[in-house]
Symmetry: C2
Subunit: 343 residues, 2 copies
Amino acid sequence: MRKRRPTIIDVAERAGVSKSTAARALAGAESILDETRERVLAAAKAVGYERNHLAVGMRSGRSGMLGLVIPDITNPFWADVARGALDRAAEADVSLLVFSSDWDPAKEESHLRALRRARVDGAIVNPVSDALDDLDKFGLPFVLIGSSAERFADVSSVGSDITQAVELGLDHLVSKGHHAPTLIVGPKSRLARTRFLNAVQRHSIKRDVDPAQLIVEDGEYTLEGGRLAMLRLLDRPRLGHICVFAANDMMAIGAMMAVRERGLRCPEDVSILGFDGIPSGAFTFPGLTTIAKPGRDIGARAVESLFDEIEGRPEHGRVYMPCRLIDRASLADLSREPRKLAG
Amino acid sequence: MRKRRPTIIDVAERAGVSKSTAARALAGAESILDETRERVLAAAKAVGYERNHLAVGMRSGRSGMLGLVIPDITNPFWADVARGALDRAAEADVSLLVFSSDWDPAKEESHLRALRRARVDGAIVNPVSDALDDLDKFGLPFVLIGSSAERFADVSSVGSDITQAVELGLDHLVSKGHHAPTLIVGPKSRLARTRFLNAVQRHSIKRDVDPAQLIVEDGEYTLEGGRLAMLRLLDRPRLGHICVFAANDMMAIGAMMAVRERGLRCPEDVSILGFDGIPSGAFTFPGLTTIAKPGRDIGARAVESLFDEIEGRPEHGRVYMPCRLIDRASLADLSREPRKLAG
DNA sequence: GTGAAAGCGCTAACAG
DNA sequence: CTGTTAGCGCTTTCAC
């Protein structure tokens, strides 16, 4: 039997004013006698008053809560996004309701319903289902995040700048003397594959290397997928050093394992560049050179955009956050040695 | 300008019944004509009614929300805990408000206040400040998690079973022929250090090895801390193979790096056993053998306990969740070779 | 079995 | 500058 929490009435009574005066004082309104305000504030502190946000939300239509629906908080990238969102939200003194969709449309839908029932003021979601199409009639301000958000035109969304990232990676590669990297990309069905491939091709043309000559292997976006792809690559006839640009860090690490499995060495025999910036990349041997997605920034920017959306000044476009290179040890420096054929 | 959300009144009108009847039908009450219930349910679906949890919470005193305050969602262990809690909560159809304390007492306090204002039904927190002492007067059902929770007697808490974990590790070590591991532990000030050390000592005595002969190095609970400790260890005069049991995976990985740095090899020259079970351990070379804390189970169990607490059937004790061994490749098998001096 | 009415704690007119 | 009043949407007596 917990004792009743003090309400604004308790505060008002103790301060000898009316409910509304107390409310105004608590809200820090201007039109109030300094002396009255202080009396109310003192009373509030004395009784241990804490504003009931349920009641506030009910009356004002603002719950002070935001929803965040991401696939898996256990995945380092999404954890990073969540952290960014959490921090930015805390700054603005709003709370975040977090949910894991597990890439399951059914869960996503059920979580979205939960958010609506909770009367959150808006939601940030990495969409898995296409059913989010009629987002407008969803009755909730939205900001989409991640690459899957690009399917939805005219909804605010934020994600990494793949084009810039690929350019960054490719530039770094040529600075190390690698002019036409072999690509390990995701499965054919995935949108991300196309986007990655396109960016590489576009950039290759700019650098006068024929995209058609780029070797491409694909596999699942997993350790094993990368390992298998690398094994296949190693089975091909090849000449000298080989340089691999993997579309994600897990695949890159898998590739690294395949190299060791075949008795070869990284970076001496094969150079590997990853993409994601997962923490584990710091602990592989050699350390994985990779280009990191700005998860935290994405999360923070998403709540920022969501605030805009809620305030009624929507941008309704995609924001691309820049990636950065993490230079570790998985790339050989060939720039001082004789150039290879390509490039 | 978003259109007004349908309320229970809209449902009632459409079904041709009163507010209260509609409410009863929606709540699935017994005392209602089947026919009426169906009419109401149909009406609810027709108008797209979704219960307003703010209003429910206000009236019933149950917000259907729980709070989770952990140091850093970006830390794999805490992400795992969060995941467990998220899943269990979703199962019970309650939402989770998540906050990062960053080991900062000020943030912790402010988050706790936010939770109270949000009128969560209870909170799960990894306590950083000692000020949580008067938890009773906090006006909120609590379940504490993690090792720092052990400071608070007579509050429900759940954490890993360090004793069982150490026993598991030590047993595995002897099965591989290592009888008196060198310990790399945390800084003197930390409670966790003592607990770890105690467990090792207790178990050593049981196996007839004198705890006093165990070599102990300490350092920060970080990569660098582990590296430095290992370097110091390597500087000591030693005979043959050395086996290290690190109190956390980061330190273990740091130690591994130090070994390589000195031109030695793991596991041929030094065996390393970690403690935590972070994902990165799978990607080191060699893969880190470690004992994994059941983060997810801890999170799930914590919301379970919290439900009990809320329902008014508190256990008020600590629950210890068992750890498990992940056997990878950082331990040499000396069991077939001549025994070492110790043990 | 169903309806009418009260009230959870708060804010926002509207008076004074 | 401050008080009074009317709800926000829902559940819950208490009647009928």
